[in-house]
């Protein structure tokens, strides 16, 4: 799958091969390289010309709902036909639709590179990050809906308050009292420990996992995969004292904590950052059992 548009950033006009006579005779490696590149470029252009006589379009079906406009209070799907470009993502397509067809189309986005976590949508029946999902990987028409199991505020915008509350409920901050001696000392973490929590630290708070979870849908108090994963990051951090870890486990082993997870793996499947959420939840379950079962 080629995802990026083939650009040649290392080949601007200014770097054109020198045209002096004496230089030409030798044909330096750079010149050869440039020559080859030019040939490839023109070959590509030629094939592109033949391959697409007509403009390819993407058929989008986008969920629309606006409580403030009388006519739009009934949820519906709008169709958009957006010109396809190589490397186009779902976010690019909805942005095109908004910029060219309907400026009232509302959705969150910011970084466009899977960093900010604001554009998780329900695309063709799965929670995906708009900016990380290639149009070419999807079958058309592409249905873009707001995340399920969250209230829709407008179009593709859902209410994330509950998700953020759950994230904060696990005290997602480092709370060791134990400061290092010297003034400029750092709180060092061992490499192994860093490796252990590496994946859990990648979360971008997109809410896709929570939205995909059947249990979270039925039990509003369930912490949810993302919050538990956040707790994992700190509970597994060796720099925090044992008492703090126990405090964290006490939060997690409550009725609506880790034990609600029924290992359906849906969160792990949708997480755009490939965090092994179920694995982390299972590990915390084992930790919680170990904490409470002491036969020795």
């Amino acid at each position: 799958m080629s995802t990026q548009r083939q650009k040649q950033p290392d080949e601007p006009e200014t770097q054109e091969a020198p045209t002096d006579q004496e230089m030409k005779a030798e044909a330096s490696p750079q010149q050869k390289r440039l020559q080859r590149k030019r040939e490839q470029q023109s070959a590509r252009e030629a094939s592109a010309d033949e391959g697409e006589p007509e403009e390819e379009t993407v058929h989008l079906k986008v969920f629309r709902y606006d409580p403030e406009v009388a006519d739009k209070q009934e949820p519906r799907f709008d169709d958009f036909h957006v010109p396809f470009e190589k490397g186009m993502t779902v976010l690019d397509a909805v942005m095109y639709a908004r910029d060219h067809f309907d400026s009232s189309l509302t959705f969150r986005h910011s970084c466009r590179q899977a960093v900010c976590g604001s554009d998780a949508f329900f695309v063709n029946g799965k929670q995906r990050l708009g900016c990380k999902t290639q149009i070419s990987d999807l079958s058309q028409p592409i249905r873009v809906e707001p995340l399920p199991h969250q209230e829709v505020v407008k179009d593709l915008v859902v209410d994330m308050d509950h998700f953020y509350e759950q994230m904060h409920a696990v005290e997602p901050y480092f709370q060791s009292e134990d400061l290092p001696q010297g003034e400029l000392e750092e709180q060092r973490q061992s490499r192994e420990n860093r490796e252990k929590i590496k994946m859990s630290s990648r979360c971008i708070w997109c809410g896709a996992c929570m939205s995909s979870c059947n249990i979270a849908a039925g039990d509003n108090q369930y912490l949810g995969p993302a919050a538990i994963n956040k707790a994992y990051k700190f509970a597994m951090d060796d720099r925090e004292e044992e008492e703090i870890k126990e405090h964290r486990l006490r939060i997690l082993e409550q009725e609506h904590g880790v034990w609600r997870c029924q290992t359906q793996f849906s969160c792990t499947e949708v997480c755009p950052k490939d965090i092994p959420l179920t694995e982390h939840i299972q590990e915390l379950k084992r930790e919680a059992v170990k904490k409470n079962l002491k036969f020795w």
């Binding site: 709902y65 949820p75 829709v152 290992t263 359906q264 793996f265 849906s266 499947e269 179920t278």
Partner: protein, 131 residues
């Protein structure tokens, strides 16, 4: 945010098509679990009501076994039990953190093995019974 649109149960139920392997495994496991509990109680009820004498016991069992529908239900019971056992092993592995990457494959494997065992058992269960 005074107003917001809750998509409600009907739309949520419409999403069953979007279920993944792990979710199906969960549903099947719940379903087979309840079936087994139901069977257990029926089993106790039927047998305890025929414990008056050895003859009563024999006639009850023979009467039941001569019914085609009971034979079919027995095949179903086997299917339910085998799947529940296999998926139970799978869940045990998941709880121990073993082979989490293969959780979907192990679910499909449990389904296939269940199917094979059930098909293989049909001749035995339907032996010597007519409608």
């Amino acid at each position: 945010m005074s107003q917001s649109y809750n998509r409600g149960l009907i739309e949520d139920f419409g999403r069953w098509k979007e279920f993944s392997a792990g979710m199906w495994a969960w549903i099947f496991h719940k379903f087979t679990g309840w079936m087994l509990i139901g069977y257990l109680f029926t089993h106790i009820a039927v047998l305890s009501s025929s414990l008056t004498s050895p003859e009563a016991y024999t006639t009850t069992i023979q009467g039941l076994e001569s019914l085609f529908i009971i034979r079919v239900l027995e095949v179903g019971l086997l299917a339910v039990a085998v799947f529940h056992i296999l998926n139970g092993i799978r869940l045990l592995m998941v709880d121990l953190g073993v082979g989490l990457e293969a959780q979907d494959k192990s679910f499909y494997a449990s389904l296939i093995i269940t199917g094979v065992i059930v098909v293989a058992s049909v001749p035995t269960f339907l032996d010597g019974v007519t409608f």
